[in-house]
Each structure stands twice: as C-alpha cells, then as structure tokens.
Amino acid sequence: MSKLLEKEKLLPWLEQLAGERVLIAPTRVEELTLFAPVKDATEIVLDYENTALSPKEWLFPSTEVLFTIARKDSTPELVEKTIAERYVIFGIRPCDAKGIAALDLPFLSEPADSLYAQRRAQTALIGMSCLKPAPQCFCAAMGSAPNDASNVDIMLTEVEEGYLVEVVTEKGQGLLEGVELKEVDIEPPPCPDTAAVPAEGITEVLTRVFNDPFWARLADRCIHCNICAYVCPTCYCFDIRDYTAKGNTERIRTWESCQSPGFTRIAGGYDPRASKESRLRQRFYHKLCYFPEQFSGPLGCSGCGRCVVHCPVNIDIREVITRAQEIGREASAASG
C-alpha cells in the first residue's frame, strides 16, 4: 500500500507551504525552465525534464555576503550573517538532490561553512522522480537513478491518479501535516533507463592516465568559460573579495570556475595551471578523482547532463569518461 496525493491537491498544498516558507519551484522564463521563488502556485510548471540551471544556488548562492565589517570609531566589528528564511524546493530531480548531497561534503565537513549549514538545515526538498529522462541524462551511471529518493525529504512520483508520496525524512513528514493522502494500491511506474556511461572504476583509471595527450587534444576546443561549472549541481569552487561602501565592508563569496584563466595565478605571476590542458583536465579530475578521494565517497558528478547540453563546443563528460577508460585499458595492455 502506498500514499497518494490527488492531482488537484498538489498546488493548494504548495501554496500553503509558500505561506510558511520561501517556495522554490520550476517556473517558465523566456522558454526556459528555471527554479525561482514562487508565491502563486499557478506559476509552477510541471511539464519539464529538468531546469536550465541547477537548484544549487538556493544553498550555495552565486553571490553571498560572508560577513560584514562595520566600522565603529576606529575598531572594526565583524558581523556574521544569519539566515532567517526557511525554504522548500519543490520539483527537484534525483540528480540535483544528489548534487546537494555532494555539496554537503565540502561545505559541512569540519569546520562547517555556517551559511551553507544554516540554509541546508532550513531547506526541505520535495523531489519529483523522472518518468522520462532526457537524452543527456546518465544519473544511474553516477550512482543515482531517475527514482532515487535517498537525498530528498519527500519523493513524488506522478501516476495517472495523482502523485505517489514517499516520505523519506521527518522533515518531509512535517511538510505533510494537514495534507490528506489516500492509501492506494498502485504500483510505481518502472524506473526508466538512462544513458550508459562506463564510470565503474573511473577514479583509479584517472590516476593512471594523467599525462595522456588526450587531455591536450580535448582542451583544444575548450573556450574556458564557466558554463559547465555554473550549470552543474555539484561544482562549488568560489572566489572571495571585499567590497566597501559608506565605510562598511562586505566580504563576499561568488561562484568561480577552475576553467577561468588566472584561477590559480598568484601575485607575482606564477601560475601552476597556466595551460588550457591543465585547467580542463583539472575539472574532470576534481569531479571524478580528487573529490571522491578527498571525501571517501561518491563521484562529484550526478549525471544531470546539463554540461553536455550547454557546452558551446560539445565537451561531453560521458565521452571523456569513456575515452579515459579506453586509454586506461590500452595502457594496462601495453604494460602487460
């Protein structure tokens, strides 16, 4: 027996939540589907494969004030930010929820990033499982699945009669207070397939193919923008700078990407990753090798495929993984 939320009850429930928390849901903006704060449930779109940008910006904003330095007489006073709002993100796909679970690793590891920790604790995730993945999706190869409920508080699965409701956490249970769910005997739809990508053992393989000319050839067409990193649900590199206005200084953090020229350049000019090849290789190595090693955990990629769709020059992480595995096998064969 499972729980069902009838179709016509969905939007009223979300509007009720919007009265208590900031509701973030998929909306239509100029032919794009983007997560945005929603007051009126009619703004919410339900027919989408996935949003153009990931929802990571609600936990890790593209720009955020770390703390303020207020000047009182000649002594500065450092004022930390507190996050007052509570959020609920509706319609998050399993790949993006996995992305948030991945971001937890650097941001919540000691010493925890207090801003991220507050947002994380104060955000509830209502997932929507994927009935029909897009051609770029490969979440299963990255350890998740179109119906993976492990990283959300509630997982909804659309069926003809409404939405099957899987309550995953206590936080999720709390969101459903006062909501009438029916007990039904409906089988969830079979989990669809996603693109096969040979990711098994990729971390170990990468440690052996670091110096292969493949990386330089791949970097030839990379234009070193930040698109892949910014649309990605698991990329988290950031920059920090001070800004002063009217005597008060804000130390702010913004997204940055290892692809930008100058990412690793120090004052004086020395740059250990000056070459295109080294910068491009760094992104794949960070996600697929260093990240899982640093946190003894999952790959830093959840298979959402946004980078595949948005890269202006078709640098495709699935192709990279496949090729790296091939090179790894050739290298093993060669050394006997």
């Binding site: 770390l66 703390f67 330095i69 000649s74 002594t75 500065p76 450092l78 930390e80 930010k81 650097p106 941001f107 590891s109 000691e110 010493p111 925890a112 990033d113 207090s114 801003l115 440690t207 670091f210 988290y236 590199c237 950031f238 920059d239 920090i240 700078r241 001070d242 002063t244 200084t249 130390r251 953090r253 290892c258 990412f263 690793t264 350049r265 120090i266 004052a267 004086g268 020395y270 250990p272 080294s278 760094q282 190595y285 960070h286 090798c289 260093y290 090693e293 640093q294």
Partner: protein, 279 residues
C-alpha cells in the same frame, strides 16, 4: 590538522592590532600582530600559515614566522607584490587587521632530532624557514650540524639581516650568505643558491634538507641535492599556491589530489614526486 577553534563561520577572522612593521628589505616587511582577544590565541608550529585580512582590500595566506612557545607576537614576513600585500605595507602601527589560522601541516622537527640540518632559503622563501631555524637553535643540543644557506637577488634583499649575528654565533652552526649580484660594499659570496649548495656539498648522511624559495630555485636546488645523493625523503619544502579559504573548500590550491592548505604546505620530495600533477 590543528586549526583555530571555530565558533560560527570559519571565514570570519579574529581581530588583531598591528604592533610593528619593520623593513627587512626594500619590498619585505616583518609584521607583528597582537590578537585583540587573548582567548583567541592559538598554538602553531613552523610551517603553518595564517590568513591576514586587510579589511576592505582582501585576505592572503602568509607563513607564520614567529615561534609559538616563545610567546612572541604573531610575526609574518610579507613581500609587497600584489593588492593585499601593498595594502598591508601601507598600514600604520595600531591598525586593525583580521587573522585566521593556523592552517596546514608543519615541519616534523622532532623527527629530525639527532640529524644534521641543511636549511636553504631564497629571498622571501626564508620566511617559513626562520621559525625552523629559531626552533632548532632553541633546542640546539637535539640536532647535529646546522648549515643555513640564505640567498637573495642583492645584498639589500637578504632577509632577516638582524638575526644573522645570532645565527652565526650559535654553536655548530654555519650561516652562508649569497647574492645573485653584489654591490660596492659587498665582499661576500656572489653565486646562485644551487651553486653554493654544490660548492659546500653537504653530506646526505644522517641529514635533512629544508628548502624554500622561488620555484626555479627549488627546482635547481633539488637537482643539486640529488646530485649529492640526498634521497627524496630527505628533502623537504613548503609549497605555495593561490588560496581563498584555507579550509579545503574552495578547491583552488590543489596539486593533483593534495590540497596545499590541508595536506601541506609542508611536503617532502618523495611525496611531491608521486603527485599526480606537476607543481
């Protein structure tokens, strides 16, 4: 890794007051800071670094060059080279800065007891080596011969000149200075650091070499030490990289899978040669 006790955001520094800024060379000053809140005092060891904030301008990582157990003020030798360092150089005594630290690992000096120590520094590279030297000299009897090779571009650029007398006078300790080019008053050695290493040919037997300086100096000094049969594990250095957080979170300072702020900055060359990525 020993880290500062955290309450709240690990990005928020502790307030400190600049108590002194002594000119060491035309572009290097030795800063000393006092934490405003005595409860914020932290322990640290040679090799570790801290972030110093010039509020309104930015924050940078600098090696601590004072010695914690001496109960000295927190000292940093900082070269004026970019926006943050220029801002620090403009500060007057009494100015407020932010301090976050300590970060990183440290030189395992206790493991080197009973050994001969060769310390090789170039220019501002002497900064993290100074607390090493002072700690060793404070525990003189625990170590064998200490050879210090201190090089710079010119005589005016030699770092820590006020301490040369103390270092020279220490027992069983040799201080060798060298410059790339001399001036009218200079009567000392004019040679590149790796050349001095070759000339003095310290023995690798029961020795450890600790080197720090510009990448090119490290590269050639390393070659020179290998030529003298120093093994990779016997040569130790401290790496620098562009850093923003110091916490292993901004994913910028890595050399391969090693983060300079977490796994370093102190590494020996056996470790460095097995890095997946060239430094």
């Amino acid at each position: 890794m020993p880290q500062a006790a955290e309450q709240g955001s690990p990005f928020v520094p502790k307030l400190a007051t600049m108590r002194g800024a002594a000119d060491l060379t035309p572009d290097i000053k030795l800063f000393s800071f006092e934490l405003d809140d005595p409860a914020a005092e932290f322990d640290y060891k040679p090799g570790q670094f801290a972030f110093v904030s010039a509020f309104g301008v930015g924050e940078g990582p600098f090696g601590l060059c004072s010695v914690a157990y001496r109960k000295e003020r927190l000292e940093f030798a900082i070269r004026r080279v970019g926006t943050v360092t220029n801002a620090l150089h403009r500060l007057e005594p009494g100015a407020k800065v932010g301090l976050r630290g300590p970060f990183g690992n440290y030189f395992p000096l206790e493991d080197y007891r009973g050994k001969n120590i060769v310390i090789i520094g170039g220019g501002i590279g002497m900064a993290p080596l100074r607390p090493v030297i002072n700690t060793l000299l404070d525990h003189r009897a625990d170590y064998g011969h200490i050879l210090i090779i201190n090089g710079a571009r010119s005589p005016a650029d030699l770092v820590f000149q006020p301490e040369f007398e103390t270092w020279t006078k220490a027992s069983h300790t040799t201080l060798e200075l060298t410059v790339d080019r001399g001036d009218e008053a200079w009567t000392g050695r004019v040679a590149l650091v790796p050349q001095v290493v070759a000339e003095l040919h310290p023995s690798p037997e029961n020795s450890v070499a600790i080197i720090c300086g510009p990448p090119i100096m490290i590269r050639f000094t390393l070659q020179g030490l290998k030529a003298l049969d120093f093994a990779n594990e016997q040569i130790v250095t401290t790496l620098e990289g562009k850093m923003k957080c110091g916490l292993g979170k901004c994913a910028r300072c890595n050399v391969g899978d090693k983060y300079i702020c977490q796994d370093g900055p102190v590494f020996n060359f056996e470790q460095i040669s097995s890095f997946i990525e060239q430094f």
